[in-house]
Amino acid sequence: MRLRIVSIASLVPLAGCKGWQSALDTHGPGATSLEKLFWIFLFILTVVWILTMLGLLVALRARRDAATDPLAVDATRERTMTRTVATLVGLTAVTVLALTGFSYAYQKRLFDRTENVLTIKVTGHQWWWQVDYEDEQPNRTFTTANEIHIPVGEPVRLKLEASDVIHSFWVPSLMGKMDNIPGRQNVIELQADREGVYRGQCAEFCGWQHAHMAMLIVAKPKAEFENWKNQQIASASPPSDDAQKRGEQVFFTSPCVMCHSVRGTSAGGRVGPDLTHVGSRLTLAAGTLQNTRGNLAAWIVDPQRIKPGTNMPLMQINPQDLDLLVSYLEGLK
């Protein structure tokens, strides 16, 4: 897929190079403390491994004395060996105790809860993420998809749910993963220390397109975030030019409305992502394509080629209508 090869690449710089989905290049307190814990474990365990291998090497040293009766055992050597092994077992016990202690200390910190924070419900669907921003005032709640904007430097609470099968929410450079399980709700908190776009990916096998179920976390300063939020709360902007107007017509006469919502219009489908502000998103189809005009058209024309098995069907749309439709959707900023 030529399209996709060029697509996401342009986003990489935004996230500060290599680490936009890595547990070793972290940008939030959760992931950073996990990284530290990881290096502690790795260091201790590497030392254990090297010592064990050295012990093995010593045991295999060359010997010149002739073979003796395999049943004859030297009592003093036996005693030395017993003592050595017992000591090593003691050391092992101490080591694992220490590791358990480290683990527990970090665990408590990791799952600390703060009060009165921005709360977002993230629902896993086969194979995209529905994102609902909660608010005290019902008219300030809104729904979007596959892209979560958060204010920098503030903890954000995520309520994780699933509508069909189990998924797992994972943005490694900000926080460890947590499963979205049907019939249950899990909660995690995460925070981004730096402005940027962080990529995450569904981590629990969920069927055909488990590989293409990514999401982006966009962290920006509080003020920008509030702007974004206000803009998202608003209903869809009405079509501004002729092409968009005709595109709207195409949209409302196609099956699209059965599955998609555009707030402020009669389109109220709940099967697919909310499209009210789809034009403002960075990617399409859960991080699969960069949101460009060409990609949008390619997706609508044949989603099954780009994401085989996806729950958006192939629809017959003539090229003219497609062009208009794309204009309309692009206008939904």
Binding site: V12, K18, F38, T52, T92, D164, S173, H210, G309
Partner: protein, 640 residues
């Protein structure tokens, strides 16, 4: 020689009345398997069945390995279009399921079926017809799932088939049913073998083989059998519940009707964690056997090793939640499972240290079996230590379901089980086949496997940490995982090639390998006291055991028990702890009914996928077959 003993009544002929080749020949006739197809299918000889079991399990290894090679080709480059999501999902499911259920567990049981009766000095396994039955059931289960895969209805929900993905709503069609029934097949077979092993070890040990003289390999499979008995029912229940949910509309896993998705995970992992020790413990038995023989020293810390096996067995039932750390269980409860998982490093450490001590005090002989054991140390310890990273609740939230886990479990499964297993093949092949494997090819095999494995699987730790989830059929080039994956693929191709070398060695040495003789390695345990390959009766006379390493203790002549019938299949039943000879019991004759019963069982299980009523009429047929199986035939059998 035989003239000296005039046998008045052949029916009364006892093994002290004749000796030498005549005794061998007559016993071989009594215990032998008829020629021809019917004979082959009726056999109850644990060696013939064990050999078939081993070969079948290796065939499944090759199939599953080829599936892995296909996956590696697909993953070698980003956005590769070689294999689509549908096929890829089937491939890793078939790979994982086959490796775990049709290769790793069965191959360990297969070695036990072959070796345990020889090592404890008896003539056949306990319940030999059940043994034949369990082999056939296993083959049918494996055939079913692979034929289904060939017909493009292969299972595609992963080897632990989480609901609701595997439930009626999200996996319509027959794929998940076939997976679940395959579980039922293989569990029936594994459970049956476990009971056979337990009874063989408890009741059929040669006189004098007290508990502290049982070979470590036998201890390991004995304890493994208990793990099977306590763990496998959980997955049987789980797969039955799944089948019920899918086929007759129960709601056990359906949250909308009071069921629960996590219940499946608890049931599966309550089995699934012990499962990995079911694979690993017999391998430690193999390590003990090889280290003892090739160190030329009795095992250091025999008691400690046995106790570690038992401790590992016990602990393994308290770890299952470490596979579920990201499901949102209560934090305190979860950290209990961190502690128990860490604790298991202690018995594992004891084993490692005792083996190293044995090598240190012995005089190691670097033949191929020992090389594989050294490879085991290198790889397994690394894998065990990465297990401790996974065992930490907070760290697991980062590495769970990533390639880091894939790296961990291939390190422990291949390093901890496959390397000892390959060592075991080099070690016992001469006993089974009568010829040695080629040593030079063996060394090539080892080095290719060792290098290929590490090059292939080490990078997966890093790709996992760099954010690559498992079970994805492709990834974007910008993710930066391309080069590491390419390296993994190259390494695993080398590893694959090492198996081709191995296969070549096994095939060519069967014809032209050096003749082994009874005891080519000068080992100490009883299986080396008989010819290679052993005659149908295993031993002309049952050995009397005086030492943990009987053949090292008794170099001149072997103390034996006499007085068993030559014309009837008699063996010694002994007491549980002291192994005093107690009963002369007859062992069953060959019979075709285990095969027919297995066919009936197979038809029932498969038909039940299509109609629940199959269970009703199928049980009737199975019942008939079982009655025929247990119905005593002639006077001969009934006399006993």
């Amino acid at each position: 020689m035989s003239e000296a003993y005039a046998a008045p009544d052949p029916k009364e002929l006892r093994d002290h009345q004749i000796g030498g080749p005549e005794l061998t020949a007559r016993l071989a006739k009594t215990w032998g398997t008829e020629k021809g197809l019917l004979g082959a299918l009726s056999t109850v000889d644990h060696k013939i069945i064990g050999r078939r079991y081993i070969i079948t399990a290796f065939l499944f290894l090759f199939l599953a390995g080829l599936a892995a090679v296909a996956m590696r080709l697909q993953l070698a480059r980003p956005e590769s279009r070689l294999i689509g999501p549908d096929l890829y999902n089937q491939l890793f499911t078939m790979h994982g399921t086959t490796m775990m259920f049709l290769f790793a567990v069965p191959v360990m049981e297969a070695f036990a079926v072959y070796l345990v009766p020889l090592m404890v000095g008896t003539r056949n396994i306990a319940f030999p017809r059940l043994n034949a039955f369990s082999y056939y059931v296993y083959v049918f289960g494996g055939l079913m799932i692979w034929v289904a895969f060939m017909l493009n209805i292969g299972a595609d929900v992963g080897w632990f088939a989480y609901v609701p993905l595997s439930g009626p709503e999200f996996s319509p069609g027959k794929r998940a049913d076939i997976w679940a029934q395959m579980i039922t097949f293989t569990e029936v077979s594994a459970l049956a073998v476990a009971v056979e092993i337990v009874v063989t070890v408890l009741k059929q040990r040669a006189p004098g083989m007290t508990l502290d003289r049982i070979p470590l390999f036998v201890w390991s499979v004995f304890i493994t059998s208990f793990l099977i008995i306590f763990a496998m029912p959980a997955v049987m229940i789980a797969s039955t519940f799944l089948i019920l949910d899918r086929l007759i509309g129960t709601h056990i896993f359906n949250p909308a009707e009071g069921g629960d998705a996590l219940l499946w995970q608890h049931l599966f992992w309550f089995f699934g964690h012990p499962e990995v020790y079911i694979i690993f413990l017999p391998a430690t038995g193999m390590v003990s056997a090889i280290i003892t023989t090739f160190s030329r020293r009795r095992t250091f810390g025999y008691l400690a090793l046995v106790l570690s096996l038992i401790a590992t067995g016990f602990l393994s039932f308290g770890l299952w939640v470490h596979h579920m750390f990201t499901t949102g269980l209560p934090q305190l409860g979860a950290s209990f499972f961190t502690a128990s998982s860490m604790l298991i490093a202690i018995p594992n450490g004891i084993q490692i240290f005792c083996w190293i001590a044995t090598l240190w005090d012995g005089r190691p002989i670097f033949r191929t079996p020992l090389l594989f054991v050294l490879g085991f140390f290198f790889i397994f310890v690394a894998g065990g230590l990465s297990g401790l990273i996974l065992a930490s609740v907070p760290l697991d939230t980062q590495v769970h379901d990533t390639y880091f886990v894939v790296a961990h479990f291939h390190y422990v499964l291949i390093g901890g089980a496959v390397f000892p297993l390959l060592g075991a093949v080099y070690y016992w092949y001469p006993k089974i086949v009568g010829r040695l494997l080629d040593e030079r090819i063996g060394k090539w095999h080892f080095w290719l496997a060792f290098v290929g494995f590490n090059v292939g699987f080490f990078p997966m730790h890093i790709t996992g940490l760099m954010g690559m989830p498992r079970r994805i059929y492709t990834y974007l080039p910008e993710m930066g995982w391309g080069n590491l994956n390419l390296l993994s693929s190259v390494g695993t191709l080398v590893f694959f090639f090492s198996f081709v070398v191995f296969l070549w060695n096994v095939v060519s040495s069967a014809k032209s390998g050096a003749v082994a003789g009874d005891n080519p390695w000068d080992a100490g345990t009883l299986e080396w006291a008989t010819s290679s390959p052993p005659p149908p009766q295993n031993f002309d006379r049952i050995p009397v055991v005086t030492n943990r390493e009987p053949l090292w203790a008794e170099r001149e002549k072997l103390p034996v028990a006499t007085g068993l019938s030559v014309e009837n299949r008699e063996l010694i039943v002994s007491t549980v702890t002291e192994a005093r000879a107690d009963i002369r019991e007859t062992s069953p004759e060959p019979s075709i009914w285990p095969l027919l019963a297995a066919i009936a069982t197979g038809v029932t299980f498969i038909a039940s996928i299509f109609t629940p009523w199959a269970v009703v009429w199928g049980s009737a047929i199975v019942g008939v077959a079982l009655i025929a199986w247990f119905w005593p035939k002639g006077a001969k059998e009934d006399e006993a």
